[in-house]
């Protein structure tokens, strides 16, 4: 757990970067610090590994004040990922990843062996190990950056806009991979971004900061979408809050009814097409119990007959949700 206790940072020259910030980032969860530029999110992040010292207040990791610890030793125990990865250009990919294990005094051989495994884990084939950072694409560099941060298996990781320098397609790919990785590893992560959509997608918790370094709201993504604390949070979270909030409700809770004549299936019972007055139309898509309410809503809107089809793991239709049933469910959900 990372704790901010009434933390203030005032820069010489008068600017208040962080204003009486108190919050707790839970162990094993990913907390995203988000806000407009000048909201002190990066400053706050850097106070965790003492790259910035607070003017007053305390930052604690698992109850221990970081200011009492040796800077270099503290940092070797905290993974760090930055925008553009910040890889060492003069070292191979493998030796970049091995950086912290080497600092911790492991032998080169041990460090490299462990690093090779990590490269695979972040989705880089072994032949990348001997390349130099300049020979990699932005997305690949960012993967190496993540592997380097994980190399010494630190319980805590800090990420400063780690995915903002890559194009949207690669970014969403990295998001998916990172979420999968985090599910396995369960690190305590503090991440900074200016992109609220990224925060809502990745964060178990989101801390929204406003200009001047004031915490506007701390909560789960759904709490922020459903109950924004004030107008600033509401406008920052953006439009379509209601629709986006549906992403966090599981499809499993929506009651289904048996399929009717308008659904065409093959012999095995897999949905194939819709039967409409103007002939058969393609099925478009299906959902499973693991999908979200947002997926069902989308399918029901797109379907020519206003029906979303649920399938099991084998692809066989096991129920449908009709347009008006969905509306009834959404109304019931609100109360």
């Amino acid at each position: 757990m990372i704790t901010f206790e009434d933390v203030v940072k005032i820069y010489p020259g008068g600017g208040t970067a962080v204003d009486h910030l108190s919050m707790e980032l839970p162990t094993g969860k990913m907390t995203v610090l988000v806000g407009p530029s000048g909201c002190g999110k990066t400053t706050s992040l850097r106070m965790i590994n003492r790259m910035v010292e607070p003017t007053s207040g305390r930052v604690l990791i698992d109850g221990q004040d970081v200011s009492g610890q040796d800077e270099a030793l503290l940092r070797r125990g905290i993974g760090y990922v930055i925008q553009h990865a910040g890889l060492f250009p003069h070292r191979t990919v493998l030796d970049n990843v091995a950086t912290v294990p080497m600092l911790l005094g492991r032998t080169r051989r041990q460090a490299r062996a462990a690093s090779l495994e990590l490269l695979e884990r972040v989705g880089l084939p072994a032949e990348f190990a001997k390349r130099y950072p300049a020979q990699l694409s932005g997305g690949q560099q960012q993967r190496v950056g993540v592997a380097r941060a994980l190399a010494a298996d630190p319980p805590v990781m800090l990420m400063d806009e780690p995915f903002s320098a890559v194009d949207p397609v690669v970014r969403s790919q990295l998001h998916a991979e990172f979420l999968r990785l985090q599910q396995d590893l369960g690190k305590t992560i503090a991440m900074v971004t200016h992109d609220i959509d990224e925060a809502i997608k990745l964060g178990d918790y989101v801390a929204i900061l406003r200009q001047g370094g004031v915490l506007a709201q701390f909560g789960t993504p759904q709490e922020l979408l459903d109950h924004p604390a004030d107008d600033f949070v509401a406008s920052f979270v953006g439009r379509d809050r209601g629709l986006r909030s549906l992403s966090f409700d599981a499809a499993a809770s929506v009651p289904v009814s048996p399929p009717g004549d308008d659904l065409v299936t093959d012999e095995a019972g897999r949905p194939v097409a819709w039967r409409t007055p103007s002939g058969e139309r393609p099925i478009g898509g299906t959902f499973t119990k693991d999908d979200s309410l947002r997926v069902i809503t989308d399918l029901a809107i797109m379907s020519p007959v206003g029906i979303a089809v649920r399938v099991g793991a084998d692809g066989v239709c096991d129920g449908i949700v009709r347009h008006h049933d969905l509306v009834d469910y959404l109304i019931a959900r609100r109360s």
């Binding site: 191979t92 600092l103 300049a134």
Partner: protein, 211 residues
């Protein structure tokens, strides 16, 4: 020409040896001194401009003037090779201190920041990260300094010690063209070989720079 070389091989070889010594010892000394001096110009940013200006002024002192002036300051004899070594070391430091500072300043801020965040302490970061990354810039400066030194040594002949330069002075005194040609060819060859050696070393130690 061949005849001249055969008859004077001892003189020419001695001149070549002295030339090498007078040119390269200052390169080494200058490099060793320039590293900390250049680093100070980066560690304390307010020092950078005074450093660059001082280097510029030092480098603009005419070499002959320095050769003649140094014995007065150092208390050495006018014919001591030490004068040449000290003078050329000053030029080397003037060239390289700035190069070292510029090289270190050229290191991407993000790279330094990442190194600090990984848990490098200042000195180890300098040795493991900053200097290696600055090496292409520093070695480029070293090439310039080495070639410049090799050509400057000859000027020392005017005060009596100057390696291959002595072949020039002798040739002029005797109205004899062979030693002058031999001196020029050997100086150029020496500069070319020294430059090549540094380039090869650079390729070997910075494989990443060509990536």
């Amino acid at each position: 020409m061949i005849q001249y070389l055969q008859n004077n091989s001892d003189t020419v070889l001695a001149a070549l040896r002295q030339h090498l010594y007078l040119a390269l010892v200052p390169v080494l000394l200058g490099f060793v001194i320039a590293l900390p001096v250049g680093y100070l110009g980066v560690r304390f940013p307010w020092l950078y401009h005074p450093l660059v200006n001082t280097c510029g002024v030092l480098y603009s002192i005419p070499s002959l003037a320095l050769f003649v002036f140094l014995p007065v300051v150092l208390g050495t004899k006018i014919l001591s090779p030490l004068n040449i070594v000290v003078a050329l070391t000053i030029y080397t430091v003037a060239l390289l201190a700035r190069t070292v500072a510029d090289g270190l300043r050229s290191v991407d801020k993000l790279v330094n920041e990442a190194a600090t965040a990984m848990g490098y302490r200042r000195l180890r970061r300098l040795v493991d990260v900053e200097l290696p990354v600055a090496l292409p810039v520093i070695l480029a400066g070293l090439r310039v300094a080495t070639v410049a030194n090799i050509s400057l040594v000859s000027v020392g002949a005017l005060i009596g010690i100057g390696g291959l330069g002595q072949l020039f002075t002798r040739g002029f005194q005797l109205f004899y063209v062979e030693p002058i040609v031999v001196g020029i060819v050997l100086s150029v060859l020496l500069a070319g070989v020294a430059d090549l050696v540094i380039v090869l070393v650079q390729r070997a130690v910075t494989p990443w720079a060509r990536a």
